[in-house]
Amino acid sequence: MNESKIILKKSLGEWFNMMTAGGYRVVGPVGQDGQIDFEPVTSPDAVRFDHVQTNNSGKWVMFPRYEAMMRFRLSGKEVQAGEIPPQAPPTVLFGAHPCDAASLATLNAVFTWDSSDAYFEPKLANTTIIGLSCTKGDSYCFCTSVGGGPGDTRGSDVLLTPLDGEKFLAEILTEKGKSVVGLAPQLFSAADGTSKEAALAKIPARFNHRDVTAKLPSLFPKEDVWKEQSLRCLGCGACAYVCPTCSCFDIQDERDRYTGVRIRCWDSCGFGLFTLHASNHNPRHKQSERWRQRVMHKFSYQPERLNVLGCVGCGRCSRSCPVDMNLGEHVAALAEIKV
């Protein structure tokens, strides 16, 4: 499969037109500095190519903030209920950085490990990722510590790497990728053999994730470690909501007179009430326990049970944190602890 071609920046507009004409909803990073997010776009003019990271990840394309699943209606003594079928419009997620593209593997592992999630899977199936290699990073980026990299192809169907201001190297990686390129084959020319490496950002590795995964179970009982790290944590959900791999959700019924819908919406393990039992018992009563859960889940439980790392090193959680909880730093610190 893996085929490399060149597309000029000025040709992207035409490609977008063809994708739109081909029935795709194109979603890409747009907005002003400091407020860049994935939104539906119709032209590459609005799309940002120069940013380090969007505020929110593009996971909403597969896993929206909220989504209705079922409707019901009370009538006399009857209850009528009906499913609301998933909405999975063919979508191109354009300009996702390699870390975001890599996050699909984690999401997919969660939503399909025992049974297929009827609302996630069709969306994933109908989504084509046109990735965009990173030409710059910042101190929060640590993809190279978690098995990724600024030019990593995992998860992308097509990966674009800007070679200079004018052209992109397009690596066509999957069948899905092939079909979106196939919408406008004339825009792609043969690659000239230029390596993408020179264009890529340099992201230093901060820790070895395998070592961390191996060590975490022994760190679990070290309460002081977790307490110390999380002392300044506020217990909000910002990290989870901006995270491309966080997949916790809540299920809620909304009612109006005698009709209602059942909705699934995001939730966060950072919230104190996340694990509150009906008995009023809370197994994770303290913030330090919730912080530990967050780290363990991503770096221990998921690798062990789903064989996939729960973190892609995008750094969003740390950038968004109101109190500068820096995941890369804290995991690196954990890696340093002698057990």
Binding site: Y66, E67, A68, Q87, E254, R255, T259
Partner: protein
């Protein structure tokens, strides 16, 4: 198409406005049918969130009414309510919510005529403004009935 008929929700205290509306009835004065009253013991009991709930459940206009200052059955509930409304109104206005849809009034147990007049005025005003579709709804009742698509959050 029939003329739009607004839905107006009235939050009233038991001792003055509810009784005043009773007097409207005993006096056989007529007013628009569009109003639905929620009876509470006192304006002091009326949580500002109830007003948002009313809009969220399809109200196009809201009336809040209780005893005149000094007449509160509980002596001071309406004074507390008044302060709350002062701030709440400023906030709604600031947020771009149309205050022509939220009306505050003192209607005493003797003011049956005032109640009728108030309801008619509010209903007419809100009818002219049209349905409050701008305000997000808890659920879109119609679209559900038709099993139409439901909004999905990004």
């Amino acid at each position: 198409m029939a003329e739009f008929e607004p839905k107006v929700v009235a939050f009233v205290c038991n001792w003055c406005t509810y009784a005043g509306a009773d007097l409207t009835g005993t006096s056989r004065m007529k007013y628009a049918t569009n109003v639905r009253m929620i009876r509470l013991p006192c304006t002091g009991r009326i949580d500002f969130m109830l007003l948002l709930q009313a809009f969220g459940h399809g109200a196009d206009g809201i009336i809040v009414s209780g005893c005149h200052p000094g007449d509160c059955h509980y002596s001071a509930g309406n004074f507390h309510a008044r302060r709350r409304w002062m701030l709440f109104r400023e906030l709604l206005d600031f947020a771009g919510i149309d205050l022509r849809r939220v009306h505050f009034s003192w209607v005493s147990a003797a003011e049956g005529a005032k109640w009728a007049e108030l309801v008619n005025d509010v209903v007419n005003q809100v009818r002219a403004l049209g349905p409050y579709d701008e305000f997000p709804k808890r659920l879109n009742r119609q679209s559900l009935e038709q099993l139409c698509s439901v909004e999905v959050g990004r």
